[in-house]
């Protein structure tokens, strides 16, 4: 119980700090940081608040958290497919993707059917999408079209669903529900913290950008320093996790941070490919749900499986 409140307090402190920093930057215009950078920072902090509230539900009702993640997934997939040029031949396949596979994935996550939810999309949906589009008889750019739908479903639904799946992951030393809710809270806090800090450090040290054409605001220095900070935070929060030693929590946090960076880069590439102006027409104001979940999408399945492999209880 003390651990729950401790973790919540730690997250709240970090959030408050980030919010105050963001508001201070907004008030005090400086030459080094332009308006857009500050707004982007504040958008990230807002998303962090949102996710923290979502995670807090996990302590009271795991089913509600899973359902909310399902809605988030649905919305992200909606944005993804909108940016993707599909043809009328894919219409029926898309219908099944939206109204069968997406809800089904989260129902299986909620019922903790690991054997099925870990293969539903990579096996059944993968084959189904290809077959259903073939049945419609439109072969124009066929491989390209089905690959895009499959990729969207994998990223926005399958990968993201591993975050709420942490609520059912049985670990040694995390037998109670509260311990698993803490694991999810720990994971999301590290992802968003790492994402924010990588971005902040990249703003200071931008000598070696990773790929300037995709994301000009992400440098190797930023990723390294951000990951180091995430490692320190992870080690400091080890008491809230099922990990036994501080260095394990630190290593996990660094892993989360690196996969989160990979996720952000990948989603930025997807958006660049389709052009900013396209997403601007359909998604007004903020960057959309897709750019807020990109880091979680990549980090969730990796974190889930590494934790399961090293710390999972033998019965599960």
């Amino acid at each position: 119980m003390l651990q729950n409140w401790g973790l919540a307090a730690a997250a709240l402190c970090l959030l408050a700090l980030a919010t105050v920093a963001g508001q201070w930057l907004r008030k005090h215009d400086s030459a080094a940081l332009d308006r857009r950078t500050v707004d982007a920072f504040n958008a990230r902090v807002q998303a962090w608040w949102f996710f923290s509230l979502l995670m807090a539900c996990g302590f009271f009702s795991p089913a509600l958290t899973i359902a909310l993640f399902g809605l988030l997934s649905f919305w992200a997939l909606r944005e993804f497919v909108t940016l993707t040029p599909t043809r009328i031949g894919d219409h029926r396949a898309l219908f099944w993707v939206f109204f069968f596979f997406t809800p089904m994935q989260f129902v299986l996550v909620a019922t903790d059917d690991y054997g099925l939810f870990s293969v539903l999309i990579p096996v059944y949906a993968f084959l189904f999408i290809a077959a259903r589009s073939a049945l419609s008889g439109d072969y124009d750019r066929f491989l390209e079209r089905i690959a895009k739908v499959q990729c969207g479903l994998m990223l926005c639904v399958y990968c993201l669903s591993f975050a709420p799946a942490l609520l059912n992951l049985r670990c040694l030393g995390a037998e109670q529900d509260a311990a698993r809710a803490r694991l999810l809270f720990f994971f999301v806090t590290i992802v968003l913290f790492a994402d924010l800090l990588q971005w902040v450090w990249s703003a200071f040290y931008r000598q070696h950008p990773i790929a300037e054409s995709i994301d000009a605001n992400r440098s190797w220095e930023g990723v390294a320093l951000g990951s180091a900070c995430a490692g320190v935070l992870g080690a400091a929060l080890v008491w809230a996790t099922p990990f036994h030693h501080w260095y394990q929590a630190a290593a996990m946090s660094i892993l989360i941070s690196l996969t989160a960076a990979a996720g952000s880069m990948t989603m930025a590439a997807v958006k660049r490919d389709r052009g900013e102006q396209v997403s601007g027409i359909f998604v007004e104001g903020h960057g959309g749900v897709l750019s807020r979940i990109d880091a979680i999408c990549f980090a969730a399945p990796v974190f889930y499986h590494v934790t399961r492999y090293f710390f999972g209880s033998p019965t599960s």
Binding site: R78, E79, T82, I88, H91, F95, F282
Partner: protein, 200 residues
């Protein structure tokens, strides 16, 4: 009133529409909104994207053969206050233009789809002449071009189940029929006004 609000929200949720007004403002003055047409949801969508007070004086024009089939569609047309036009039986003394003008009187606005039918969505088809005769008889009506983007993917021709992608609606600046403007020139100009909003 409650069904109206509810259906408006359902239409907005299905279409995920973001609405933009480019060099134009919502207003309750008498107007004719004319848009490209790619899906059966279009009349509802344009109507639902207008602010509530404008919606009350605006009537979508819809095809009688589609919208009078079945009790659900008939109920929907009542809620949206749609003006049904018979596309199959057009007679001289009962022309759709006269019917529209009679129905709207001096207060109501219309939502029209001058292509006459749905197109595939890649291009905007040639406009039918109804819009011209309408403005010729009532040159005071403001004509507002509307471009509907992506609805052809949400509910394409020949499909009956929608896929919930995001769409966008762009309302453009008002235009009028110029004095002595030939029919073909005017229709070309109106079509160009809709197409211009695609890139706006």
């Amino acid at each position: 009133m409650i069904t109206e609000t509810l259906l408006t929200w359902i239409a907005r949720a299905i279409s995920g529409a973001s609405v933009r007004w480019v060099e134009s403002q919502p207003d309750t003055c008498q107007r004719v909104y004319f848009a490209n047409h790619t899906s059966h949801l279009d009349p509802i969508l344009v109507w639902a994207s207008l602010p509530a007070h404008v919606r009350q004086v605006t009537r979508p024009v819809a095809a009688k053969d589609y919208w009078s089939r079945g009790p659900l569609r008939r109920k929907l047309t009542q809620v949206f206050n749609a003006l049904l036009i018979d596309r199959t039986e057009i007679k001289v003394h009962q022309s759709p233009v006269d019917l529209m003008l009679r129905e709207i009187g001096r207060t109501q606005s219309l939502i029209l789809f001058p292509e006459g039918g749905r197109s595939s969505g890649e291009t905007v088809g040639e406009f039918k002449s109804g819009l011209y005769y309408l403005s010729k008889k009532r040159p005071d009506l403001e004509l507002i071009p509307v471009y509907i983007n992506n609805m052809n993917r949400i509910l394409p021709r020949g499909e009956f189940l929608p896929v919930p992608l995001l769409s966008s609606l762009t309302f453009g600046p008002p235009m009028w029929l110029e004095a002595n403007e030939p029919k073909t020139d005017f229709l070309q100009r109106a079509r160009a006004a809709v197409l211009r909003l695609r890139d706006a």
